[in-house]
Assembly symmetry: D2
Homo-oligomer: 384 residues x 4
């Protein structure tokens, strides 16, 4: 069990190591008839790509995706979509000093202890490079959800002690990629940028938080109790590298709210359906989506690989190394590049539940299976 | 897909509704040869039982567990363990007013919208009564883990604005059941009790938080990336009724920590193995257990069913009801009875990973399968 | 991993041992709004019940099912359906001689070796009594499929060297329960009955085969490659106690057919759709249902528990027992009581694929989820 | 749900179409420390490769495997193993006539009906080319099993009416690849070859059967009831393209055996353990391996793509085509190339159960996880 699979009906399976030949993921369960191109995926990969700015690693990866199966004439065929992304700038040599001396708070020690072997290529499987697969798969999920009117957004809501003010969904979508820190509150973004650069100069790193939101999610997603929407979002978001907290709705603050304060009363909407007067519940009630926007936050701790001197030990030589420095190509802060990753995990979770709830039919995006005609894509050149 | 299954190798499947004839769960994957009695399970159920104190619902359930299969002469047989718990004090009539008028922020509306039907028996499947199954299954997991030296504890660390001081693992285990609020900081417990009674008097309710900790967990549990220990704990804890936040280690606070602050340096332990100097990482590194205590917190929002007047709407009559009151047998605060539930989910998650990692062998607690002798339980009366 | 779960979306989980207090199964994934009563389930259980005739075990079990959850006012609620069946005539004493001496070709040895413990109650979990759960769950699947126009039938097509002539689907459905051997060719049935009685008189037993057929299955069920309809039927049928062969379409005989002989050519059906001229393919092409009847056979070997003297060994005493006799309440032939079991496994497999293909929507049998009205069951007394 | 995943702990996920850029599979759950090279995989792929002889398709594929992850310095790392195999000789043009006219008994119609789209590249996902992935993954499983003393063999036991005589396990392993038809009875092989050539000359094809056997399988594999070893083998083998029957032990013939004939009595083996006097049970008792050789047969129907004239219909033009000929590069008989495929599915199933039973530990092939040393591979160049 390698934990390289996500999703029950919209399924993602990944492979790849930081400095291996390629990263890859197979997406299955995407219905036939979805218009999809490499560009749709590449656009998202470019947002996660290293080397975008001064505050991201300088590793030079084009992260060009190649579709190996599952698409024909620009539409999904309903069969597994194989994606590969070559590692072009892999250099394992850089990390050699740390083969038997674990980096502080990194996964080096635990991976080595678990598998009895040490991947000396930049963390191997434990590297956040894996998330390139998630973003690729998430791009397909987003395309699928978008057809159903579900839109997703995320931005950096906090770095260190700099918090963003509340920003609207539309503002997030418009501005998220405008700044290097990916915060849609542009004032806060500037202060965040300064803060990160300060830590970076000192060979240090800093933590932060990402706010996410999904709109257009219909009522009824989630399979309580163990597969409630909140439980599966919890799994999805806590899988994000460096995540230490997941919250939705009022999150941790809900501790201090009384029932009368937090409860959202019911009124009738314009079309006569019950609608909550507010959305303190974060779009999920009893583990099932309520039709209101789903929102929450993920906390990512500071990157552990830092140039500052720290103590480690070499378990082979028995030596204590007091001034170990991790000199590689590391980000000084994770949320800016984590934004597309969080969006991807949100999209993957929702796409899965859309299929599980029958809102999206499993075999074809249009209609039910079992009709023998194959020409429902008018653009299909073979069917003219 | 009803989301009534938890675990990959240590598997729990549940059924039951608040006011149906019985609750039940089937535990499979528990190896043979584990000494286990109804008492081991009953002890935990009694901690979760309603009607324990003034601040819990007055529903009168003995919650007596019956083992239907999987145990012979006091030991598990390796085959599925069927457990049932009768509902003795079911009265569905109480809730009738709310059949087509959803309680504010309750699962009434979302369940009805999802299934197109309304369970009028006290919430039916959405009721927290379901957690009686989790606690029963969790008791088996705890018994199994205890053999391996893994111990689990939880207590209420916050209610409203009253926070507990830091308490040691041993103090939690000793004192958690001493007070009605289940807080091991006895001073804070007193203030919490007062606070809850105050809200109760006003027909209101209040939120809170539960701290959990596991000791003795070996290095190597967790299957990154999607099934990392933190991801699966995230799922487990966010499935707890009313959970709005899951944190481990520094949790949400990690946002404000620099890498140099949060990173735990390495030293050699007395027995010569690498050991972190601190445990800011919360016992999980790179998604895998580090051997240090695993700790974190879960936030539970205020109970939604309150006597205070709130507005709702009746979707059948079209009526707006401004002064709806939920007059039932409801808890004014959830964490006190949530403590055994959180412990259960922690135990179930860890037992599953102990099996997945091969630390606990799947067929027998002692040794490997394939030996033809059957007499390795000396107490076995048939084998004298 | 106890292998007590079947199905991906239409999920069954079972527990129970031959001589424990009860058998039980939990069915989840059945959509809301299905009319279902205990009678619908009991009818099928009565067909599998022991003590029906001279050629079945004399164990006296009423096999009365009790619905513990998931049904309200005669309709499914969409949440897990808990079923229990009490064991009324459990007597474990009967089998004591064989605790450490395995019955020839029975599961005694393998279960004991696997779990290091011996269930001395009539085989415990390895008993075919478990199939009472399958038939109960299968009855729900049948009810669900019937709404969609899918009908299922099976009958005994061979016992020993007595083969039934070809019988039509309708004849099978009409006559299957008319004879004790459950063969719809009534002449063959008579000869089968005589044959079985002959073996029974000699303290021996005999093997046989079951023919199954499903009609009304739409085109498009099956998820090739590993989850093709034939692969999952293969799993389902090979799980039936004593199954040694699974065949569909021409089955084993297909070895001797040329492509030109076996291939079914295409013509247009009356409504203008492509239709095969014959059905040598058995209703499955490329692992997916073709819309034609699905048919095949399952072979069940002779019951292993027989009064005739056979040699075994006692692994505790080291004794060789040359004249061991299994004096219990055992069937001399399995297919007659296996018919409802095979039907159940066929129904469970098809119901699962109907959900997986989106033909049956997962939350509600009628319409899509997300509408807030709950009154679509006109019979619902609360909604008058 | 695309059915592109096999295995619970030893997991395979595949993608790829007959005429797409590449085939690929990801194997996860293989423990760390297994010596494994591309050669180990290539050797098996070469056995399945097209163009080996006159009686296989002339498609010219080198089927060269590339390992993308999961191996370091010649040993598995415990993390997912990504494999890709380029399609070098893809030419989709050949099949164009059949885009809207389904080939008789092929998956064309059912795939098109299911997904509402037609893959015009030689069957796309429905092509047996997919099995290149299975053989690649199976090679890893075989390597893993071999360490545990489990060996696997298969050969063609029947083509048309030509049956092989009984051949020993060792003979099969020695001779299976000696003849083009892959039958270890060399006399029968000659007659099979002649028969196939005869059908081939007539533009026809013919069915056949494969015998498989596994030796060294320990007692205790299988998770009855639904995941019994026979049930999972049933799934695995019925997933093989063109499979219409699966049998183990006496298979279909068991119908005619009495209990006294089929039952295998017990004696003591030389080392004092209970051992069956014969192996009519086929190595599986009560769904669990008995320690005896596991053997059985799979039937593969005649290839459906044949040059002989057959009738089909064009669902777009409404035309009935009486003389459709499938002129491509197709095998006239499947079992010869199916042998490595059946071996692969047997190996994958057994590897999965070896992990599920704890016989193979999940994280490392040697020893338990949690030790911090990483130098247990003496050959590891980094650990000198």
């Amino acid at each position: 069990m390698n934990g390289n699979r996500f999703g029950r009906l919209f399924q993602v399976t990944t492979y790849g190591e930081s400095h291996g030949p390629s990263m890859g993921c197979t997406v299955s369960g995407c219905p036939a008839g979805l218009e999809l191109s490499e560009d749709d995926i590449q656009r998202e990969l470019d947002r996660r790509k290293p080397g975008q700015s001064q505050i991201t690693t300088s590793r030079g990866e084009p992260d060009a995706v190649s579709i190996e199966s599952g698409i024909q004439d620009g539409y999904t065929t309903g069969t597994p979509i194989g994606l590969t992304i070559e590692n072009k700038d892999a250099r394992s040599g850089k990390y050699e000093p740390f083969i038997t001396a674990p980096r502080p708070s990194h996964g080096d020690f635990t991976y080595s202890a678990k598998f009895g072997t040490r991947n000396w290529g930049g963390g191997g499987r434990s590297s956040a490079r894996e998330t390139v697969n998630w973003v690729a798969a998430g791009a397909i999920a987003k395309t699928l959800l978008s057809r159903e009117g579900i839109e997703i957004a995320a931005h950096v809501c906090q770095i260190g002690d700099v918090e963003a003010s509340e920003v609207s969904f539309d503002e997030i979508r418009e501005r998220v990629d405008e700044t290097d820190v990916r915060c849609a509150d542009l004032d806060a973004a500037e202060r965040m940028q300064e803060l990160v650069e300060e830590y970076q100069r000192e060979g240090d790193s800093i933590g932060g938080g990402i706010y996410f939101e999904a709109r257009g999610v219909p009522v009824g997603l989630g399979a309580p109790r163990f597969d409630s929407l909140s439980a599966r979002l919890g799994q999805a978001m806590m899988a994000v590298p460096a995540a230490t907290a997941f919250e939705f709705g009022l999150g941790r603050e809900a501790r201090e709210y009384a029932g009368t304060e937090r409860n959202d009363e019911w009124e009738f909407s314009e079309d006569g359906a019950p609608a909550p007067t507010e959305n303190d519940h974060g779009g999920i009630q009893g583990g099932i989506s309520s039709g209101e926007p789903i929102y929450g936050e993920v906390t990512l701790h500071a990157p552990t690989s830092i140039p500052a001197e720290q103590q480690t030990v070499d378990w082979e030589t028995g030596e204590v190394i007091e001034d170990a420095q991790v000199i590689g190509r590391h980000d000084p802060v994770l949320p800016p590049r984590g934004v597309p990753v969080v969006e991807a995990m949100l999209a993957l979770t929702l796409a899965d539940f859309m299929l599980l709830s029958g809102r999206i039919t499993p075999d074809r995006v249009d209609g039910r299976p079992g009709e023998y005609d194959t020409d429902y894509h008018p653009e299909n050149p073979r069917n003219e």
